[in-house]
Symmetry: D3
Subunit: 134 residues, 6 copies
C-alpha cells in the first residue's frame, strides 16, 4: 500500500493540486487516489489535468462519462475504481435502476466479446466499408 500524503504533510505544490481538486469538484475532502499519486508530483499533476480535460462536459455529458469510466473499471476488476466511480456516478445523478442496467450491459458485452472471439467471427464488410470511405 502506498503512503497516503495527507494535507498536513503535503508540499506546497501538492497542496496546490489538492486545492484545485476541491474547488473544481466543490468538495472539502481529497480521496485516497490523489493522496497516493501525491507520492510523485508529476504523476499527480498530469493525472489531474487529464481527468479535468477528459471528464469535462462536452459532446458527452458528465454522467455518461462516469458510466463509461465505471464500465471500464468493472471490466478490469479495479476494486478501488469501482468504489470511487460508483460514488461519483451517484453524485452526478445515477439512480439504482441505472446502475443495475449499466452492470447488465457490462455483463452482456463481456459475454458477447468472448463469443465473438471464440467463434472468430469475421468483420462484416458493411462495418468496414463506411470507415474506409471516411
Amino acid at each position: 500500500m502506498a503512503r497516503l500524503i495527507e494535507e498536513e504533510q503535503a508540499s506546497g505544490e501538492v497542496l496546490a493540486v489538492y486545492a484545485d481538486i476541491k474547488v473544481y469538484r466543490q468538495t472539502d475532502w481529497i480521496n485516497n487516489f490523489w493522496k497516493a499519486l501525491a507520492n510523485h508530483l508529476p504523476t499527480l499533476k498530469r493525472t489531474w489535468e487529464n481527468v479535468k480535460e477528459v471528464m469535462a462536459p462536452g459532446a458527452l455529458d458528465p454522467l455518461a462519462k462516469e458510466l463509461v469510466y465505471l464500465a471500464v473499471s468493472v471490466t478490469n476488476n479495479c476494486n478501488y475504481c469501482i468504489a470511487s466511480h460508483t460514488a461519483a456516478a451517484r453524485a452526478k445523478g445515477m439512480t439504482e435502476e441505472q446502475l443495475a442496467e449499466l452492470l447488465a450491459v457490462i455483463g452482456l458485452a463481456n459475454a458477447n466479446n468472448r463469443l465473438a472471439n471464440g467463434y472468430n467471427v469475421p468483420v462484416d464488410e458493411r462495418f468496414v466499408a463506411p470507415a474506409e470511405q471516411d
Copy 2:
C-alpha cells in the same frame, strides 16, 4: 473461423430468430455474429433474448447502452465487437465528437485503474459507508 450459417442454409428455428432480429432492428440483413452463433441454436436464442432485454430502452437510453458496450469491447480488444458496436452506436446517433470523447474516457480509465492497482490505494471510508447503510 466458425462456419457462418447463411439464410439459405438455416433451419426453421434459426430463420425464426433471424426474422425476429430483422423486425426488431428494422433491418434487412443479419450480421456475422448471429450467423456464427447459429451453429448452436440454444446459444443463438439465449444470446438474442439477452440482447433484446438488456439493450432495450430503460433507465438508460439505447445510445448510452451502446457507448458502455463499446467501452467494454475496446477495453477487452474485441476487434469484431468494436467494429459492430461502433457501427451500432453511429446508427443510434453517436457523432464523431462523441466517439472521440468516449475513447478518451476509456483510455483515461484504463490508465487510472492501473495507477490505483499499482499504488494499492485503500478504499476511502466515505465510499464504503453509504453502500453498507443501504
Copy 3:
C-alpha cells in the same frame, strides 16, 4: 512478426526439440508457435517441457485440459491460441456440440465475473471456512 525457424534453418538443438514434439505428438509437422519460440532456445525448451508436463494425462484427461486451455485463450482473445487449441481439442475428440457448450460457459462466466465485480459481492463465509480449515 517473429522470424519462423524452419527445419532447414534450425540448429541441432532446435531440431532435437522439433523431433521430440513430432514423436510425442505423433505428427509430421511443427506449428508456427514452436518455430517462433525457436528464436530463443531456452524459451523453446522450457516451454515445450512445461507443455509436456502440464498437458499430460493426469487427474484431468487431455481433452479436459484442452478445454481449459481454450477457455483461457478465448477470455484473453489470443487469436493464434484460439485457432491452434480449437484444432488440438478437435484432434482429441471435441465435438462441435462440446465446442458450442464450452463457448457458452466461457461467455456466461465472463458476464458473471463482472456482475460479481460491479456489485462487489462479499465472499460467503461458507466458501471461506472450508479452505481455512484445511
Copy 4:
C-alpha cells in the same frame, strides 16, 4: 458493496427465484451473488435462467463446465467467483489433485497466450483451412 437482499426482505418475485435456486441445487441456502443480483429483478431472473441453461449437463458434464468457469474466473481474477466456483467444483467432485492440475493448465495457457502475442505468431494454414471448409 451492494445491499444483499435477504429472504426476509425479498419480494415475492425474488423469493420465487430463490426457491427455484434451492430446489434446482438441492440446497437450503442462497449465496451472496444472488442476494446482490436481487437488487434488480430482471438481472436476477435472466442470470439464473442463463446459469440453469448453460451449466446444465449436456455434451459437457457439469464438472467439466465448472472447471471451465473457474478457469475464466482465475484468468480474470474475480475473487468472489474463484471462491464460489472452487466450492461448486468441489461439490461436483473435483479433487485437490484436479484443482492443482487445473491451475497449472490455466497458468500455462496464460503464459503461452503472451508468447504467441509477443512473437506475433501467424496462424498456420492447417488451422485455418478446416474451419473455412466447413
Copy 5:
C-alpha cells in the same frame, strides 16, 4: 478503422503536433497511431504531451520504459502497440536476446499471476508492513 489524417489533410494545429513529434523523435515520418488520434485534436495533443513527459529519460532510462510499455501491450494483446513498441525498443537498442528474455518474463508473470489468484494466496505480513510504516 479510423480515418488517418495525412499531413496534406491536416489542420495547422495538427501539423504543429506532427512537427513536434518529428523534431522530438528526430524522424521524418509520423506513424499511424498519431494520424488516427488526429481525428480529435485534444486527444492528439494530450496524448503526445503525456508520452513526452512519461517516456522521457528519468530515474528509468528510455529503453527500460520501452520494455515496460511492451510488457503491458503484450499482456493486453494490443497488436498495433506490440508492433510499434517492438520497433521503438529496437530503435533504442533492444537486442533480439533482450526481446526474448522480455517475452519470457512476461509469460512467466502472466502464469504466476494466475497461480496466485487461483490459490488465493494471502499477502505476507513482511510485504505489507514496510509500506504501512512509510
Copy 6:
C-alpha cells in the same frame, strides 16, 4: 484460500525446494506463494525452476526483469503479485522515483493500448517490413 504448507508440515521433497529457494535468494524465509504451490509438488518444482531460469541475470539485468514482472502484475491487477514483486524490486535496488515512473509508464501504455484498439489503427508498413525481412 489455499492451505499454506509450513516447513514443519512439509514433505522432504517440498523442503528440498524450500531449501533451494533460501540458498538461491540468500534469505531465511519462504513467502506464501511457494507455501501455496507446495500443495502440488510438480507445480512447486516446475514454477521454481521456471523462475530461476527466467529471472536470472542475462541480457536483461535482474532489476529490469522485476520491473517487467511488476508491470504485468499491475496490468492484471494481481494483488499478491503486486505486493511481492514491489518488495522484490525494492530489494534489487528500485527507488521510489523509479517505482513512480514505472507506474506512470504502465498507466500510459494501458491508455494508449485502448486508443489503438478503439481507433483500430492499422500497423504501419515500416513496422511490419523489418520483421518479415529477418
